[in-house]
Symmetry: C2
Subunit: 346 residues, 2 copies
DNA sequence: CCAGGGTGCTTAACCGATTGACCGTCCGAA
DNA sequence: TTCGGACGGTCAATCGGTTAAGCACCCTGG
C-alpha cells in the first residue's frame, strides 16, 4: 500500500489551481475567490489533508513544539505525582492548538543541557519549560546564551525570564500557624535539597513564621525527597533529644515514609506526632491515617506556563504569573498536642 | 541578538565547498576527500551545528519521532506509576538516537484516535506505541488503515501487529499457588475493566489456576483501577457472606485502598486478610504493612517496544517479543491463614 | 598520446509548504 | 475609448537539508 498522505499539490491538482492558490485558500488569506476557497477546503477535507509539519517548519521557522526535560531518577518519578500532574496541565493548554510536547526523561543534568541545545539547534522546539529551578542554575545561562524562549516554573527570582509560581511562602506560614494553633511548639521541617530555589524560599518562610510565632524549637533538616532519606532523618529526629510533636515534609513520599517510621517506633500519629505533607496526592489520601497536606495547583501551573510560553514565542512580553494559592487540606495525620507528647519521656 | 543557529550553508561557506559536499562529509558518505571531510566536521563542531529536523524530515521523509498517547484521566495518572515507568523505559531506548518522543495525555478515546491521525498525516511521527489494548480496539483498525507503524504493548493477540508482552498468565498462577501454599482457599481477585485484553488474560489464568488447585471459592469482581471503586468493592466483599482470606488486586492503588478499608473494618492484615498488588511501586513499599506485589518489568517493556518500533520503521519484520518474567515480591501483607480467619464469624 | 576510469567536487532537482512579485481580465470612471 | 485598479490567480524563490547526475582533473595502461 502506497503512502496516501496527501499534500497541497494533490489538492491543487484536484482543484485545478496552483499550490499557491491552495495555500492561500487553506490559510484564510486573501488572494482567492470565495468559490475557489470553498472548493479547495472541501477537497482538503475529503482527502484528510494535514499540513506537513516539517514543510511548515521549514518555511515559517516554527517547530510547533515545546520541550520539557524531566531530570529525575525514574524510580523517584514513578512515585511523585508532581510531574505527571504538571504534564497533564501542560497537555490541557496544548490540547486544541497545533503545538506538541516533546518530552525527555533523564537522570543527568548534563544530558538535560545537551537536550536543550540539540532541540534548539535542530529547530525541534520553539521554546522550553524549566522545572525545579536551582540556585545558579546552569540551564538559565544556557537558555539565555541560546536565546531559547523559556518559561521557568519557579518563584520570580529571574528578572529577564518569565516565571510561573505558586505562593509557597504564605502556605508555609499557614501550615505553621495551623500547627501552632493545635498547640505544637516543637516543629521539624524535613526539606528537600537546599540547592532548589523553592526549598530556600520555603525554608526562609518557615524560619520567619517560627520567629513571628515565638517558636524557638522549630528547625529544618534536609533530605533528598526519597523515602529512604526521609526514613533515616525521621528516625534520627524522633529518637533524638526533644523530639518534635509535628513534622512538615517537602513532598508526599517523604511524609508517607515518615508515617511508616513512626509506626515502627510505636509513635502514634497524630496522638504523639502530627505530620504534614507538601503536595497532595492519592498517596496522602490512601494511607492510614490519611495525611494532612498542602495541595498546590500543579496542573494549573503547567497550563499557565504553556500559555505564557506560547505568548513569549509569539513575541509577547515576558512577565511573571502567579497561580492560585495552595490550599491546606487537613486530614487525620494532624491533631492537637497531647500531654503525653509534651512531657519528655524518661 | 540574531538567530545564530548555523546551517550547512554556513559550514559550506566557511569550508569553501558546496553544501552538497558538506552533506556528504557530515553523513560519512563517499564523495569527499578525507581532508575535506575532517575540515568540514571540525567547522561543524566549532559552530555547534545540528541538522534541522524539519529539513531532514522533508527530504528523507522521516520525522525522527515516535508518539505515545496516554489515555487516562489525569487524576488516576498521578497515582499509578505505570505510565511513568513506561516512559522512563522508552526514554532509555531513545536516549542516544536522534528520535524524540511526542507525548499526548488525554482522557478521551476519540481524541486519541484524532491524535494518531494528525500525527501521521502531518508527518510528525514515524510510528506509535499503543498501550492498554482493549478488545476490538478501534485504534488497531485505525493504524492498519493508515499504515502507521505501530508496536502494541499487549499479549500477542494481533497477528499482523508486533506486540511486546509480559507473561502475566504464569504470574497469576504463581500468585494463586503462593496463596494456596499459605493455606488460602477463599480468594477474590479485584480485576480492572473487562474490556482490557490483559484483564481478560489474567482472569482466564486465574480461573484456570483456581480450577487446577481445586478452589471452588475463587472468584473475580471488577473495578476501574480507582481507589474509590476498589474501596467500594472491597467493603462489599469483606462484609458479605464467606469473606475471602486473600485478595489479589489488578493494580497497586486498588490494593492500597483495600488496605485502608480493611483497617477501617478492623480486619488485620495479614492476620485475617492477605493482600497482593499487581505492579509493584513505592506505594507498595511505603504503606504499612508493606504490600506483597507482582513486579512487572514495565520499563524494560517500554524500551523493548521502542527498539522493536524503530526496527519496524526501518523496514524490519514485525514480530512479537516477550519481556522478562514478572516477579512475586513477598512483603508483609500476605501470610498464612489463621484459624480465626477460617472460622466463619457469627 | 590518448582512451578509460577513478576521485573529488559542483549543480540542480526535490521534499511540502509559504509568500512576495507579477500578470491577465474585467469593471468603472474620466 | 482608454486608463487605473481591484480581483483572482500563477510563478518562483525560499526554508535546510539529501542525492542523482554531471564535470573537471589526474593517474594509469596500452
Amino acid at each position: 500500500m502506497r503512502d496516501k498522505r496527501p499534500t497541497i499539490s494533490d489538492i491543487a491538482k484536484a482543484a485545478g489551481v496552483s499550490t499557491g492558490a491552495v495555500s492561500y485558500a487553506l490559510n484564510g488569506r486573501p488572494g482567492v475567490s470565495e468559490t475557489t476557497r470553498r472548493r479547495v477546503m472541501d477537497i482538503a477535507d475529503r482527502l484528510g489533508w494535514v499540513p506537513s509539519s516539517a514543510a511548515r517548519s521549514l518555511s515559517d521557522g516554527r517547530a510547533n513544539a515545546i520541550g520539557l526535560v524531566v531530570d529525575r531518577p525514574a524510580r523517584e518519578l514513578g512515585v511523585e505525582p508532581f510531574f505527571v500532574q504538571l504534564i497533564a496541565g501542560i497537555q490541557d493548554a496544548l490540547a486544541d492548538g497545533p503545538t506538541a510536547l516533546l518530552l525527555q526523561v533523564t537522570d543527568d543534568a548534563t544530558a538535560e543541557l545537551e537536550a536543550y541545545r540539540r532541540w534548539w539547534a535542530g529547530r525541534r522546539v520553539d521554546g522550553v519549560l524549566l522545572a525545579d529551578l536551582r540556585a545558579d542554575d546552569p540551564r538559565v545561562d544556557l537558555v539565555r546564551e541560546l536565546g531559547l524562549p523559556t518559561v521557568v516554573l519557579a518563584e520570580p527570582v529571574l528578572p529577564d525570564l518569565p516565571c510561573v509560581w505558586t505562593d509557597d511562602e504564605s502556605a508555609v506560614a499557614e501550615v505553621v500557624e495551623y500547627l501552632v494553633a493545635l498547640g505544637h511548639r516543637r516543629i521539624v521541617r524535613v526539606a528537600g535539597p537546599d540547592t532548589f530555589v523553592h526549598t530556600r524560599i520555603r525554608s526562609k518562610a518557615f524560619t520567619e513564621a517560627a520567629a513571628r510565632l515565638g517558636l524557638r524549637d522549630a528547625r529544618a533538616v534536609h533530605a533528598d525527597y526519597s523515602d529512604e532519606a526521609a526514613a533515616r532523618v525521621t528516625r534520627r529526629v524522633l529518637t533524638g533529644a526533644e523530639p518534635p510533636t509535628a513534622m512538615v515534609f517537602d513532598n508526599d513520599v517523604m511524609a508517607v515514609s515518615a508515617l511508616a517510621v513512626a509506626h515502627e517506633l510505636g509513635i502514634p500519629v497524630p496522638d504523639r506526632l502530627s505530620i504534614v505533607a507538601w503536595d497532595d496526592s492519592a498517596l496522602c489520601r490512601l494511607v492510614r491515617p490519611a495525611l494532612t497536606a498542602v495541595r498546590r495547583p500543579i496542573a494549573e501551573r503547567g497550563a499557565t506556563a504553556v500559555r505564557l510560553l506560547l505568548d513569549v514565542i509569539g513575541g509577547g512580553e515576558p512577565r511573571h504569573v502567579k497561580t492560585s494559592d495552595p490550599e491546606l487540606v487537613p486530614r487525620s495525620s494532624t491533631g492537637p498536642v497531647s500531654d503525653q507528647a509534651l512531657s519528655p519521656r524518661r
